[in-house]
């Protein structure tokens, strides 16, 4: 344990003020907080809530159904980040589609999906484009590359999300937010500063043990002062202006649209879709996608869990029909989804 962690740990564990609710909005933060066991250090009056910061958790059932349609009805080769493979659609997940003969391949980068398209001219390759501002540039670069290469067998199915309007939706869910460092590395801090003016407090944090502990300690110290605040606790990566080149790139290739978040419903201008210049690469247009209405399990309360309105154990499906091995809701899918973490922890 280095000195910084020790200092931060002292601040966190000795907090004895009024009850505070802190929400981390980033799936990787949730993962690291779990992996490092940070929750077990927190005194009872600090509530750390896992927000909707994981593109897997917020990807609606209908998106998976669209991907299943392309895989099984249109015989497309589906390329995807591994995260999405186990996410339940209405009838099955992508692993199920693979067992039925669908061609589903995990990739590390959208660029790799373009390579696959280049090497397999007889296959129609579709990349499942999910992610927030951090990930969206990688999809934009891939689409531009496919266009440069003149590939006509590559397209993307977009479910890209934009964080700022989601923050507004979450306003009031917590006393302070831990903003996702790698989203801010792209967007910059302007939104968070604006939120501070509206009375919403938060810090932007990195991902190492030192960074997360520092960010939590800063949050607690600032909450004690009682004034709205914003602190950049990840200055080695996050600049106030963000990445201008990434912002330009996204603006060139994609535009904002209204979009559905699993559990949160429709949020205006919180999604990204391809601009008309790139419509040849839009899988929905290319395959004349019918309207597919995903049917989530009506008992599933992932949405309320994501907003911190209820605990996983308040959901009627939790631990009964919905377990890590048979996930019904998205929060149970990845090991660090709020429900999965809660399930495993509660047995500990």
């Amino acid at each position: 344990m280095n000195e910084i962690i020790e200092k931060a740990r002292e601040i966190i564990t000795s907090y004895d003020g009024p009850k505070v609710r802190i929400m981390e909005v980033c799936g990787t933060h949730t993962h690291e907080i779990f992996r490092l066991g940070i929750r077990s250090l927190l005194p009872e009056n600090i509530d750390l809530i896992s927000g909707p910061g994981c593109p897997v958790c917020v990807t609606p059932v209908g998106f998976i159904d669209e991907a299943l349609y392309l895989a099984l009805e249109k015989n497309c080769l589906i390329t995807t980040f591994g995260d999405l493979i186990k996410v339940p659609g209405t009838e099955m997940n992508l692993a199920g589609a693979r067992a039925k003969g669908g061609n589903i391949r995990p990739v590390y980068s959208p660029d790799d999906a373009v390579e696959i398209a280049k090497e397999n001219p007889d296959e129609q390759v579709v990349f499942l484009s999910v992610g927030f501002e951090t990930t969206t540039p990688s999809s934009c670069l891939a689409v531009k590359k496919a266009k440069e290469l003149g590939l006509n067998n590559f397209s993307i199915l977009t479910a890209n999300k934009s964080m700022p309007n989601a923050y507004l939706k979450l306003k009031g869910s917590a006393d302070a937010f831990i903003y996702p460092g790698h989203v801010n590395a792209i967007t910059g801090n302007a939104v968070c500063k604006k939120l501070k003016e509206d009375g919403v407090s938060g810090v932007v944090a990195g991902f190492t043990a030192t960074e997360l502990m520092t960010a939590l300690a800063v949050t607690i110290e600032m909450l004690k002062k009682g004034e709205p605040f914003f602190v950049n606790c990840y200055p080695r990566v996050v600049k106030d202006e963000g990445s201008i080149s990434a912002q330009k790139l996204m603006d060139e290739v994609m535009e904002l649209c209204d979009t559905e978040w699993r559990g949160l419903g429709m949020i205006e201008k919180s999604g990204m879709k391809l601009r008309s210049d790139y419509s040849d690469f839009d899988a929905r247009i290319k395959y004349n996608m019918p309207h597919i209405e995903g049917k989530p399990n009506p008992g599933c309360r992932c949405g309320e869990v994501l907003q911190g309105h209820c605990k996983p154990s308040d959901c009627p499906l939790f631990g009964k029909v919905c377990t890590p091995l048979h996930a019904v809701g998205a929060c149970m899918v990845s090991d660090e989804g709020a429900c999965s973490a809660y399930y495993q922890y509660n047995q500990f």
Partner: protein, 334 residues
């Protein structure tokens, strides 16, 4: 001989004989290798350990080994983990029509070399050829037997609170090697499989002490899966020091890139020992003096509480539960 395996090689004809004599006999040569329907053998008195394992791996050749080496190590290590000196092995091949003979020869050679190194004799075998597309290149099954060293009594159910947990080297290298060899993620790293026969290492430990509770080889599922198995079988908890778990920097880099947990990557040359605290230092120094276990380390201990759980002590001085993997390991971005 033709340069690819054909259906004729599996038909019991002249070609089959050519294959057996030309490739297997020369590489496996030992006095007990049978030309009859079965090998006739003798074992020492006392208890024996016997095990069988099927091997399919894609690609069949990888940095640090191939499917042949793997097929010997896997079964030899399974027997050795029961405190038995591996003595005889049988092997059965299912080969896809069109498989290059030259490649088969390489595989047979590494089986012969590895068997000699492990001190085990290959005494009988079988070869079947399947039509193109019916199998993926080559599958091998090996079965082995050996005498258990007197006074040794190990089982996954014997871990006791207070036991120290020792791993014989850095973890996850085989799984990581295969992941890279498939080249699905376009990552380069100088990582070789840990695949190795480990009887010598176990023998060295047993020469120091026979008071060993559990020996398990960590294969698919990795060390993390072994720890959960033992926690369940023995009805105990396990407490790990996350910073003491040896991981090769390259493996750590690949895992960081793909969001994977090294504890769940396969090993093919790593053992996990559960030993009484009083024996731990002896066992550790015996292992550190052997090839393939120079980097052995104590990574944790058995607890009475948290039955069935693996708890990690983390870099921030907190405790967390090691997540159990559900199904296939998938790279993640979030």
């Amino acid at each position: 001989m033709e340069n690819v395996i054909t259906l004729a090689h599996g038909s019991g004809s002249i070609q089959t004989n050519e294959l057996i004599n030309g490739i297997f006999k020369s590489n496996f040569d030992n006095p007990n290798l049978t030309a009859d329907d079965a090998a006739v053998l003798s074992l020492d008195d006392g208890k024996i350990a016997m095990s069988t394992d099927g091997f399919i791996v894609s690609p069949y050749e990888f940095p640090g080994g191939n499917i042949g080496k793997l097929a010997i190590c896997g079964t030899v290590n399974d027997i050795a983990c029961m405190g038995a000196k591996p003595k005889y092995l049988t092997c059965s091949y299912i080969i896809e029509e069109g498989f290059p003979v030259e490649e088969l020869e390489k595989i047979a050679k590494s089986m012969g070399d590895t068997a000699r190194k492990a001190g085990v004799q290959i005494v009988a075998g079988d070869t079947k050829v399947a039509g193109k597309g019916q199998v993926d290149k080559i599958f091998i099954t090996t079965t082995g037997v050996g005498n258990i060293v007197e006074g040794v009594n190990t089982s996954g159910a014997f871990a006791k609170p207070g036991d120290k947990i020792i791993v014989t080297g850095d973890i996850g290298r085989h799984g990581c090697t295969i992941l890279l060899a498939r080249n699905e993620f376009n990552i380069d790293a100088d990582i070789t499989s840990d695949c190795a026969p480990l009887w010598n290492n176990i023998e060295a430990v047993l020469n120091e002490t026979k008071d060993i509770h559990v020996i398990r080889d960590a294969t698919r599922g990795g060390v993390g899966t072994v720890l959960y198995e033992i926690a369940h079988q023995s009805n105990v908890g396990i407490s790990l020091e996350s910073e003491k778990i040896p991981v090769d920097p390259g493996v750590r880099g690949v895992c960081a890139m793909l969001g994977l947990e090294p504890l769940y990557l396969a090993c093919e040359g790593r053992l996990v020992f559960f030993v009484p605290a009083s024996e731990a230092d002896k066992v550790l120094s015996a292992l550190q003096a052997c090839e393939n276990s120079e980097k052995a380390a104590i990574i944790g201990e058995v607890t009475e509480d948290n039955v069935g759980k693996v708890i990690l002590n983390t870099a921030v001085g907190a405790k967390t539960l090691l997540s159990r993997p559900s199904g296939e390991l998938l790279p993640r971005i979030c």
